[in-house]
Amino acid sequence: MIENSSQNTQPGHLHPLTQVIREITDSFVALGFEIADGSEVESEHYNFDALNVPKDHPARDMQDTFWLQGNQKEQLTSNIASRTTDRNVGTERSIEEELEVSGQISNVSGQKFLLRTHTSAVQIRYMEANKPPFKIVVPGKVYRYEATDATHETQFYQVEGLVVGEGITLAHLKHTLTEFFTRLYGHDTKIRLRPSYFPFVEPGVEVDMSCMKCGGNGCSVCKQTGFIEVLGGGMVHPNVLKAGGIDPTKYTGFAFGVGVDRLVMIRYGIDDIRLLYAGDLRLVNQF
């Protein structure tokens, strides 16, 4: 229940996404990480190609993409609008292909542009500008071409981590993430790694943490499994190091990405992701 007095100026409220992004980012800063950022408009090269996500490969389906338009916007709109209702398989690619042929996708010096689908896009840019060793954390907004519902949004937030140095291993990733989740959720937090696939890492893992609600005993939040899937990660693929100008025979690295919105939703019991972007103080003022 809200109790308020009109007489004094009350402080306002920070959005829960901001709060959790700051908490995550600052935790990594405390572990010696540097914060890096990048732009939301990104080239296909940095978002996909250099990250070992080949064109015309099923891996591209893992991240449906918003493509950006060049200068010919008028001629295009009606053509696209008619297709947006048809979300059948393959639609996005056919648009991409069609527009590539007709030159309608934003194309600067031979590059196609898009809204970054993950903060991993910052990886190569940072590698190009900095020499290893380094450890960075990258909070940022990302976009996916998705039909929206209570658990899917076209925009959401990620925090990316990347460590490159000599002798970096998966055991280091495990330790770093355990330390991080312990800072965030207390000392009983456990994590587990499961095999997964992201083209920019090899091996690739899915990381679960013991359920913050029930502590691992099983509840509705963790669907009785005791664990919640919280992030993806793995050892940086040698092709990615190479693309960033780093010698993969000398250096190894790990990378991971956390979806912030999901963490916020689980933590506070928010059941609809769209509320986070509605500009609605009925949500914000509770934090």
Partner: protein
């Protein structure tokens, strides 16, 4: 890609009731469905569903794109059970073979071996189209398939079993050459050639599309869909079986272009080993003979000009431990290779491994490290602290400055909102918007802030606010290929007075002033009505480097979902003797208001001398709302009566 996998089908790959290894007495069997799920989650892939169907268990497996070569099929999954549980798979039974007869000649020509690395065809005569046997129908139906007829069912079964899509044509409907032969040509379509697919869709083809044709017309879009007029039906007595390998990239592009995606095209998109075509042809032939014992098999025509070579991967235990941070021994690595049944030999420190032909995902050392690591188990890797790196983290000005601005604004009573990056107008357009009114990236934050002000004004009584003060920090896109960081602040007052516009302006200017003072540089921006927006990116350039601030801790809030139903606003005012505090009164109100009272707020206080003494007047505004329904006037009146009665229980309190 997710695929349904039948537990009973998997089980058919193992001997029934095998003696457990080491003991002669106990009977072992393959792991239970629960054990299979647990093994897969830990070592293979996500199990997204487990459903009991009849006497079977159907797993919904999420197969990642790197394992599409071998795991989009029951045999591949069964092989994983064998690797992970140690249960050996059944060795292939000797099946009835039929010597190829000299029947209709088949000639196959492939124009571009890059698009079609392998094409195997076989004419079969004297087939009898009919219903499939029960076991086959059950298998197909268990994983959501539909039985069509024995011939078509065989090809579908082979695909679900081996992962190799097959196709079958009615030989009787194909053009016969002068010498009586059937000629299959794998070529690109001609401009404006058409085909009507099995599901009756007419497709106009373009030259990028690979087709299977006879000398007259396209018979199928290669690897994607067959043509209707050459399909098998109940009159069919002779067929051409196809087991081919098509380019993954070309299949994917074509499938997108023609707008048809099938179980077949999805598998080819994942790139299949040409080896599979051979196995598929053998299995399909065996099944055909089982169902049509009198069938006459023609020779298999195999166009495979450049057999794919299997490549070796050389790996050492040090490679593995160097990436995983594990402490595996040579023996343990060898143990895993044996469980995988991979061909390998040792050469000093090195394991020279030749992965199975089907495992196209295993190419570089890191691939083998993952393969060994996942079978060994990531849970066995003991975590280790990062070594000290020669690295000094620099503070990122943009991050800390933006947070400083947030904190300043929050201290000034502003709340932070997030709005959408997509809008119906703008300068930088999205090629594939999710909706017509979301075709552009926002050119400013003010538009979204304006909408948020309107929304929150409606809820002001519920929020207990006289004024809405909000802000957003985020990227805006003022032109094509332009992106910058912006900050917008909005203010709106609930009470409409003559001075309102001036008050709004004053509040915005006050925020601007405080920001300028705190940051030490003038914050210049644009005032538009009740919104002030400034270019935060440009401002950041002018700021000095910032010292890292204290670690932030998010609040632990108890969140309550906003109700979807309207709220009802009521005021109540009363006289109480001097000295009674507003909190005492509120306590009485709350105690009797029930859980529908959402917001209570004192909005007016004054005192007055009465003959009987000094009295205070308190006026409260109360907001009622239900999570389940729209409240009626009667319901709220009832609550107000209860509150009044409770207040009057204090004899000297008087509701006005």
């Amino acid at each position: 890609m997710n695929i349904p996998i039948s537990y009973q089908w998997l089980k058919s790959h193992f001997e029934k009731d095998l003696p457990a290894p080491g003991t002669g007495a106990r009977q072992a069997n393959i792991p239970s469905p629960e054990e299979v799920s647990a093994l897969f989650m830990q070592h293979l892939c996500e199990v997204e569903g487990v459903e009991q169907r009849g006497g079977d268990t159907i797993f919904d497996l999420k197969i990642m794109p790197d394992r599409g070569h071998d795991l989009l099929a029951h045999r591949g999954i069964a092989r994983e059970i064998s690797v992970l549980s140690g249960m050996p798979m059944k060795s292939a039974e000797a099946k009835k073979k039929s010597a190829p007869r000299d029947i209709t000649t088949l000639r196959v020509s492939v124009a571009d071996m890059k698009l079609c690395p392998r094409y195997m065809g076989r004419v079969v005569e004297n087939v009898k189209v009919g219903e499939s046997p029960a076991w086959l129908r059950e298998r197909l139906e268990s994983v959501g398939g539909r039985s069509i007829n024995n011939i078509v069912d065989i090809t579908n079964y082979v695909m679900l079993e081996l992962g190799q899509p097959m196709h079958v044509f009615d030989r009787g409907k194909l053009v016969r050459e002068k010498d009586g032969a059937v000629e299959i040509v794998v070529r690109n379509a001609k401009q404006n050639e058409t085909i009507t697919t099995l599901d009756g869709k007419e497709i106009v083809l373009s030259p990028e599309t690979l087709v299977i044709a006879d000398s007259a017309r396209p018979l199928a879009i290669a690897g994607i869909k067959g043509g209707k007029d050459v399909g098998v039906d109940e009159t069919t007595t002779a067929i051409v079986l196809e087991a081919a390998n098509f380019s993954a990239v070309n299949t994917r592009k074509t499938s997108a272009r023609v707008g048809i995606r099938t179980d077949s095209s999805r598998r080819f998109e994942h790139d299949l080993s040409p080896m599979l075509a051979e196995e598929a042809m053998t299995l399909a032939t065996e099944l055909l003979l089982e169902m049509c014992p009198d069938a006459q098999m023609g020779k298999v025509v195999d166009v495979y000009p450049l057999p794919k070579e299997r490549k070796e991967i050389i790996i050492t235990t040090a490679d593995i431990n160097g990436i995983l941070g594990s402490k595996l021994s040579d023996d343990e690595v060898e143990g895993v290779l044996k469980r995988l049944s991979f061909e390998y030999h040792k050469d000093g420190e090195m394991f020279v491994v030749t992965p199975p032909a089907i495992r196209l995902d295993l190419v570089i050392v890191e691939d083998m490290v993952e393969e060994i690591g996942r079978v060994y188990g990531y849970d066995k890797i003991i975590d280790a602290p990062l070594p000290a790196l020669a690295f000094n983290a620099r503070p990122l000005k943009a991050y800390y400055s933006a947070n400083m601005i947030r904190d300043v604004l929050v201290a000034q009573g502003f709340s932070e909102v997030y709005t959408y990056s997509f809008q119906n107008t703008g300068e930088f357009a999205v090629v594939n918007p999710v909706a017509e009114d979301k075709g552009f990236l926002r050119k400013d934050l003010g538009t979204g802030i304006g909408q948020a002000l309107v929304l929150n004004m409606r809820n002001a009584p519920l929020l207990g606010l006289d004024e809405i003060k909000i802000f957003e920090i985020g990227k805006v896109f003022p032109g094509v290929m332009e992106e910058k960081l912006s900050c917008a602040i909005g203010v709106e007052f609930i009470k409409a007075t003559k001075k309102k516009d001036a008050l709004v302006r004053t509040a915005l200017e006050e925020a601007q002033k405080v920001l300028s003072e705190t940051l030490g540089v003038p914050v210049a921006g644009v005032f538009t009505g009740n919104i002030f927006e400034f270019d935060l990116g440009a401002l950041l350039e002018k700021l000095p480097e910032i010292n890292v601030r204290e670690e932030f801790h998010a609040v632990t809030a108890r969140y309550q979902k906003p109700s979807a139903y309207p709220f009802v606003l009521r005021d109540i005012a009363l006289w109480v003797p001097d000295g009674v505090t507003s909190d005492e009164v509120l306590a009485v109100i709350s105690a009797d208001a029930g859980n529908l009272l959402r917001t209570k707020r004192l909005f007016d206080v004054f005192t007055k001398e009465f003959p009987e003494g000094k009295k205070t007047s308190y006026a409260f505004s109360l907001v009622f709302q239900s999570n389940d329904k729209t409240l009626s006037d009667d319901e709220v009146n009832g609550i107000m009566e209860r509150i009044t009665t409770a207040l009057h229980a204090h004899t000297e309190w008087q509701v006005r």
